[in-house]
Amino acid sequence: MSRTVLLIGTRKGCFVLESDGDRRDWSTRGPFCEGWPVYHAVFDGSTGTIFAAAASEWHGSAVWRSTDLGETWTHSSEGLAYDDASKKLSKVSTLSVADGRIRVGVEMPGIFESRDNGDTWSLLTTLEGQPGSELWDDPANQPPGHLGISGLTSDPDDADRFWAIVQGIGAFETIDGGSTWTPRNRGLRADWPREHEEVGFCVHKLVRSRADGDRMYQQNHVGMHRSDDAGKSWTEITEGLPTEFGFAAAAHPHDRDTFFVIPLDPGHGRTMPDGRAAVWRTQDAGSSWRRIDRGLPQSDAHIGVLRQAMAGDTSDVPGYYFGTSTGQVFASADDGESWAEIASYLPPISSVDVAILD
C-alpha cells in the first residue's frame, strides 16, 4: 500500500500529514523545525529528504532537513549569506530540487545552491545585469520591500535549466545552471507603467505541465496566462474566472490542458470572493473554466491561499491539496471534483508539497 505524504510549511513550523493511497484518512505530525516560520517545504524524491526553507526572527535564515520523513531534523545556513555586506539576506523564500541540486531563492534577490544535500550552500546567482536588476539592487527596494525570488521551477530532465520569479519584476529562464538568464515575459499584461520592455510584471506563480514541458501556466497580479513554448510567449486566459488575481495554482500530472487555480479578491483582503471557497478548473487549456466547490465552505469562508500553498500528486486519479492563510488544509482525491477539510487548526500556511511513497 502506498503512502501519501503532505508537507505543510506554516508560520509556526513544518507539519507532515500522512495518508494511504486512498487519501481519505489523514494523520498529522508536527510542528517541526522548532516552530520557525517555514516559507517553503519540499520533498526530494531522489533521496527521500524533506527540505524546509525557514527564517526565524531571532536566529535568521536556514534550510532545515529531514531524511526520515520528519522524525529528526538538522539545519544549516553555512554559506547562506552574501559576501557583499551591502546586500542583506532577510529571508529564504522558495526551494527547488533537481538531480542532487537543492536551490533556494532568497530576499534580497539571489539563488543559493547546495550540492551536498543541504550541508553547505553557495551563491549561484543574483541575476546581475538583467533588466530591472537596478531596481532590486537599490537599497531603497531591499526587504522589507519584498523584492525577493518568490518562485523556482526546475526541469526534471535537465538540471541546468530552470525558471526563477523575481517578485514584481517577472520570470527568467536559465539553460546553463544560472550563469546566464533570459526574461520570459513576452505577452504578459501589466496595468502600470514599466521602465523596461522585457520586465516589470508581477508574476505570482509559474506551473509547468508534467505531461508536456512546453506547456506552462501562470497566475500573475493581473490575470491567468498560458504558454505553449515553455514560457517564451504567453497568452492571457483569464476570461471566465471571477477575478484576475490569485496566487496558488496546480497542473494536472497527465493532461496538459487541465489546470487548477484559486482566484482571490485583489484588494487588501486577498481572500476567496464573497466568502465562498472554490477551486476553478480548466480542461481545455484555459478556453473555459468551471467553478468547483463541492466539500468547500460556502459561507463566511474568508480564506486566502498563498503562492506555494497548492500541490497535486501524480496518481492515476490525481489528488490535489491546498492550505489556507487561516490554517486549514483541503484535499481532493478525485481529480479535483470534490474536496474535504483534512486539517483545521494549523498555523497560517505558506506552502504545501505532496509525495507518493511506495
Partner: protein, 87 residues
C-alpha cells in the same frame, strides 16, 4: 571565566548545548567564536554578516547592553536574550 547564559530557543538547535556554561573569553565575539567552535553554526544563529549581533538577539554583559567588541572580565555574567519578537 565568564558565566554565559543562553536563550532556550538555541538548545534544540545544537546537540548538547547547555543553558549556561563557563567560557574563558576576552570579548563577546570571542565567546561566540568559542561556542561556534564546539557547536558549528551557532554563530550564524546569533550574528549576521558584518558581523553584528542579530536585531532580535540582545547581549548583556553584567547587566549592560553590549556588542560583539564588548570586553569580558574574568567573572563577567553574559546574558544572551531572544528579545520579544511578535506573537
Amino acid at each position: 571565566m565568564a558565566d554565559v547564559h543562553l536563550p532556550t530557543t538555541l538548545m534544540p538547535l545544537f546537540t548538547g548545548l547547555p543553558r549556561r556554561l563557563d567560557l574563558d573569553a576576552e570579548t563577546v565575539d570571542d565567546a561566540i567564536g568559542k561556542l561556534d567552535a564546539q557547536w558549528p553554526g551557532l554563530r550564524d544563529r546569533l550574528c549576521e554578516p558584518g558581523p553584528t549581533i542579530r536585531m532580535h538577539i540582545h547581549v548583556y554583559v553584567d547587566g549592560e547592553r553590549s556588542q560583539l567588541e564588548t570586553p569580558l572580565e574574568a567573572r563577567s555574567r553574559v546574558d544572551v536574550i531572544a528579545a520579544i519578537s511578535g506573537g
